[in-house]
Symmetry: C2
Subunit: 284 residues, 2 copies
């Protein structure tokens, strides 16, 4: 733990600022962390205990009290950048009863017949929960823009719609943490190659992954526009260098810890008379 | 692992047979397991690796193949028997992306306006998933019967409706494992007392828990009727002695392993030309 700086500092280092460019980010870097992989894995395990207690307090406050807070982690990335590993190793460590996970695929016909935020709104986390979006409404301004799935003016409209939507969600008590896991093109090539080489990974490979990869620069440009238009105080974007999986997991854990510490949930007091209940229970 | 018998044997020992009576079950026992708590915790960790791989294979088969199988774990118990611990320590160890958890509370007004199985059907697991019901449609013939929340003839109708419903779910590919965690009255008293004594547990205590506790014998009779009427080959009931939490977790893990081994999911083969894709990827 001594090797790790406080999470406020890590959040500051990773938060997207004005004029953000990917050229300024090294996907191999470990901003705010001086340790190596071994340290990182130990710190991840230690952080998990803190995260678990905070999650349980958040859940308890909403279950029996008036608390309305929730946390929403939005995960975006190019293929193979490690979203699944974050879900498994960061979020997967807390009590699944307090987690709501939503994986957004290509929209269905029914979903396409509604505004792009219709399916998203339905999956916002309840009070007391940690929600995780594995892909999100941002696909509608990422692949939506790169593949021209909607007219330019519709894409343009969506940035504002997203900002309004997220502000409303934040005002209702949801702390929103938006993370883009950033790997290099070379790293992606290696990871996709591994999927082709290992029979237990074949199912994770899709020929379409290479088609998207060929549009890498277009995607990076689309992400830069997303950051410029939608990184707000209510719902900031963080770009997490993700060539080192252990660092990305640690960094996202820090961001979640920061969000929960910001809420600072407390164990709710008893809304019954403890001594009376002890007597009733003893007599039963 | 040497101390543990095979899971087919554990399943046989725990499976509810004709004429089942709680009087014949010792909630302190550890059927099919000769080890102690330490052994049990080690075996749980070892079993988790097997469970994780089987879960991923199940998920993979449904994600890219034609496989339609899923697993559904139904958890029922008196308060404090450890349903939450099963979710946390048994199910919580596998990839959350392959788990669908549904906690059924007292039905809402909308739910009450439909047949009792309406809300249940909607939460059946998709192909490839492990679904978990934390309480279930069985509440409608347990508290429903004990508290007379519905007329006797309606309760009577429900047993048959449940059997039909579960047979249909099983025919669609869902392996159903129904577990009743069985603790003694004394054990429950201690666990509820702990909730009253620890400020971080106060939120888990509800004065209504003692009211239900006073109806213990009625609940046990209602469970015995449930077993008699709804334990079928398609959806068998298991009564798991649960005074020792470590044993209950190990036993439920064994039951889940058995269900998954019964499905025997395999890594799906590539539905693309691996060599062609390697070349495309290399050139990209």
């Amino acid at each position: 733990m001594a090797k790790k700086r406080g999470n406020a500092e890590v959040a500051d280092l990773l938060r997207v600022g004005p004029g953000f460019r990917f050229d300024d980010v090294d996907p191999d870097a470990t901003p705010g962390y001086d340790g190596d992989k071994n340290d990182g894995e130990k710190d991840l395990a230690a952080g998990l205990e803190k995260l678990s207690e905070l999650q349980e307090r958040l859940f308890a406050e909403a279950a029996v009290g008036e608390a309305r807070e929730a946390v929403l982690l939005v995960l975006q990335a190019m293929d193979s950048a490690g979203k699944g590993g974050i879900v498994r190793h960061v979020v997967g460590g807390v009590d699944p009863q307090g987690v709501e996970l939503a994986a957004f695929k290509a929209p269905t016909k029914e979903e396409l017949a509604h505004d792009f935020l219709w399916r998203i709104e339905k999956r916002l986390p309840q009070s007391g929960f940690i929600g995780v979006f594995d892909r999100s409404h941002y696909e509608d301004v990422l692949i939506g823009r790169v593949r021209e799935l909607a007219p330019a003016e519709e894409i343009e409209r969506r940035y504002g719609a997203i900002v309004d939507f997220e502000e409303r969600a934040a005002a209702s008590g949801i702390r929103i943490v938006k993370v883009m896991l950033h790997i290099s093109r070379d790293e992606q090539k290696q990871r996709l190659m591994e999927r082709l080489e290992r029979p237990d990974k074949h199912w994770k490979y899709n020929p379409g992954d290479v088609d998207e990869r060929l549009l890498w620069d277009d995607y990076m440009a689309a992400y830069e526009t997303v950051f410029e238009r939608t990184s707000t105080d209510a719902a900031p974007w963080y770009v997490v260098p993700a060539n080192r999986k252990w660092y990305a997991r640690l960094a996202v854990q820090e961001l979640l810890l920061g969000a929960l510490q910001g809420i600072d949930p407390q164990w709710p007091g008893a809304d019954y008379d403890i001594e009376v209940e002890k007597k009733r229970l003893s007599a039963s």
